[in-house]
């Protein structure tokens, strides 16, 4: 603003119908709107970069796995890969099912009935994601030679979490039960995970 445009203190002449205060308000408004649009635009421009780091379509496409369970004897357990993660499929004995069902819910950290973790009439089959809910290690207990922890399920060697025969957390730092993935029985001997 040149000195000549000011006649009296604070009043701009030559800009018809607007006092200096008006002009400043309008400029502020323009600055703010332009600034906000710029910020929103930068945010929108950044989104493709950020989103490119999320799982890609081909990664998402590998989202189901079929498992033949006919060869798994009672008491045995196998590990299959689903979405790059190990999934434990365990054929439970009657004892193990009993153990899992006898537990008083108040003794659990993450309260869940065994019945809520298996399919109805298929109680013998426990399917859980084999990743400790603490910091993502794979618990041991799949092989007969490995420790199954204090509760007959799995034991995470990283930070000492014990899981029971329903895959529920019983002792140690893990906050949650082993996750049950979405799965269905296609037949008596075939399940589809995912």
């Amino acid at each position: 603003m040149t000195a000549g445009s000011k006649s009296q203190a604070g009043i701009v002449t030559g800009q018809v119908g607007h006092s200096a205060d008006d002009g400043a308000t309008r400029r502020d408004f323009l600055f703010l709107t332009a600034g906000s649009f710029g910020a929103v635009g930068a945010g929108i421009a950044a989104w493709p970069l950020v989103h490119s780091m999320n799982p890609a379509k081909d990664t998402l496409a590998l989202s189901t796995t079929e498992v033949d369970i006919s060869k798994i004897e009672k008491g045995q357990s196998i590990t299959v890969m689903w979405q790059g993660k190990p999934v434990f499929v365990r054929h439970r004995t009657e004892d193990e099912i009993d153990q899992a069902r006898k537990v008083d819910l108040s003794a659990l950290g993450d309260k869940q009935e065994d019945t809520a973790r298996v399919k109805k009439d298929r109680e013998a089959w426990l399917v859980v994601v084999g990743i400790c809910t603490h910091l993502g290690c794979v618990p041991v207990g799949q092989k007969p030679s490995e420790s199954r922890g204090d509760f007959g399920g799995w034991f995470c060697p990283c930070h000492g979490s014990h899981y029971d025969t329903s895959g529920r957390i019983r002792k140690g730092p893990a906050p949650k039960n082993l996750a049950v993935p979405p799965y269905e029985f296609l037949s008596d001997t075939l399940i589809k995970i995912g």
């Binding site: 950020v50 990664t59 603490h134 060697p157 990283c158 000492g160």
Partner: protein, 430 residues
Amino acid sequence: MGSSERATFNNKVVSWIDERLPVFTLMQKEYGVFPTPRNFNYFWNFGAIAMFMLIAMIATGIFLAMNYTAHVDMAFDSVERIDRDVNWGWLLRDIHMNGASFFFIAVYIHIFRGLYYGSYKKPREILWILGVVIFLLMMATAFMGYVLPWGQMSYWGATVITNLFSAIPLVGDGIVKWLWGGFAVDNPTLNRFFALHYLLPFVIFAVVFLHVWALHVSGSNNPTGIEPKGKQDTLPFHPYYTMKDTFGLLVYLVIFCAFVFYAPDYLGHPDNYREANALVTPAHIVPEWYFLPFYAMLRAITFDVGIPGTDIVFISAKLGGVIAMFGSIALLFVLPWLDTHPIRSARYRPQFRLFLMIFLAAFVVLGYVGSQPADAALAGVPLQVIGLLGTAYYYAFFLVVLPWLNKTEKGKDVPKSIYDAVMAAEGKKK
């Protein structure tokens, strides 16, 4: 930095260039005649040593990248090929591997120097904060670099550390999937870690530049913690400290070379020479030694914080551990405002020095705790308890001890000037 006053140079080419781009004037001013306190001890070598290590890491890293393949099927073998088949590949890799450790050793000593002599205090707060930023960036870079050989420790270290973010309420799981680019640590993760591992050192370099810039505004602190008051207190940086830094660096490199040539795997973990396997977790996951104290703090919190006697939990044990770990670094950022005692150097603050030494000991003990299995014990005391006590002291030092000393510690008489302090020390010797 476009300073108006230029130095004069006899060489005509130098003079010609300097008139157009005054880099020679800049070097002369900042590294030639730069007035530097005359009383540095060897603790003041470690900034220059860290700078050298950064450059050595970038130099070896670029050539390693020319032979590395960032793919889950090939990464492990490509690193073995560097070790066995690439000309001098073993040397590049051993320098880079051990260089990370020696970079951290230098930086830890550099940080401790800052703590001991109060280098974070006014007017050096931003200088200090930039240093903490560099430290954080170094941790991120080192972590991602360790994943690249795709060994068992690489894979499982990456799994455990990325899973830390799942502790964040509501958005945690989404963030972890975003970090992975999938449903587990896998090929997309390896690729992005390689890209970022290549990028971050240059970011570090840029922040180091700011760090040095801030240093040259305030000037260096010194063992007395008193600001130089005149010429009698300082020496020109060259040749006095260029020589002292070079000497210290050479001694440091002798030790470094001993590791590179005679014990290249001493600081590593044998499990990382087994290829990554998503189905088998190593019995005992440990991070590299320079992360151990922080890893111990992560594991120290094993209890939920909530209303006792109910199931209401505000902070789960998992989130608590994550907060304890990241909080320990956040405290460093605000240190200049926690310790506002007018005396800088621990030399004249016996109480501060005592508590700082206990702090150092606690940090080392935490490192030991972090290196051991979670359920181990030392002399009958579970390490769990020791880890929790160490973490408690770490926090208490910053949040209780320092503010308390601000009010209560009188301190010793501080010499009038650096010159007086130096002359008094000389007098004692004679």
